[in-house]
């Protein structure tokens, strides 16, 4: 009877619950933010059939080679719009990067 009692009580045991938790933090990327651009201002010269001679003369007087790279008014408009698009894309990309940093780095601060 003793053997039977011990045998039965041992079978009906409650097992201890074990919860395993092991977190290994990922290494931080820590890349430096790119330095903001510092650009040079351009000088635009408008040349028409009326002022062409005067423009080239002025250039020579200023010691600048009398040669100009030209754009039509339509191409100038396209150039302006292209630059605006590049600027917008740059702004969106930088802001996206900031949002990612803000989201993930604030998480890391919270976890620490």
């Amino acid at each position: 009877m003793l053997t039977l009692t011990i045998f039965l009580t041992s079978c009906a045991g409650v097992k201890q619950l074990e919860i395993f938790k092991q977190e290994v933090p990922r290494e931080k990327l820590n890349l430096n933010s790119p330095k903001p651009l510092e650009l040079e201002n351009l000088r635009w010269i408008i040349i028409t059939s009326n002022n062409a001679e005067e423009v080239f003369k002025k250039l020579e007087e200023q010691g600048i080679d009398p040669v100009l790279w030209g754009l039509t008014d339509k191409d100038f408009e396209l150039l302006a719009k292209n630059f605006a698009r590049i600027r917008n894309q740059l702004k969106i990309t930088n802001d996206l990067l900031d949002k990612y940093k803000e989201y993930y780095e604030s998480e890391e601060i919270k976890d620490e």
Partner: protein
Amino acid sequence: MFGSMRMIMIGVMVAGLAGAGAYVMKLRSDNATLKANQIKLESAVTEQKELIENQKIDFKKILDANNKINQLVNVLKKDLEDLDKRFNKKNRDVGKLAIQRTETIERITNGASALATRCIEIASGSPLTDKEKNATKKSEINSECPSIANPNYIPY
């Protein structure tokens, strides 16, 4: 005969008592384990609740970030539309204007070019100057990209 019966009875009683004792000990041990399990479960429930709360906060942050980026895309789109208007407003022909008023258009072009250059610097992360931050009038703003250069300017 009677003696051996008594011995058996005593043996049975001792065995019974020992079994009962072992059973009680086992129950005590089980009880302690169950209590420990209960504490762990309660702790797990609390952790789950915290996790759900954190997830809610994260979802809100994600939504806010999406909204802000969408707003930025829209204001930048408007800047581009404004640029288009400057070239083509009321069938304006910049080429003809440049022939008629060459010096004026050259001055305007150079001014706008300088502003557009500054816009690219700002877009690349250059901090805003106080003048740019405090601009509220049309005459004070960077007309090429007021949405990113002049945060306090409200178009009127």
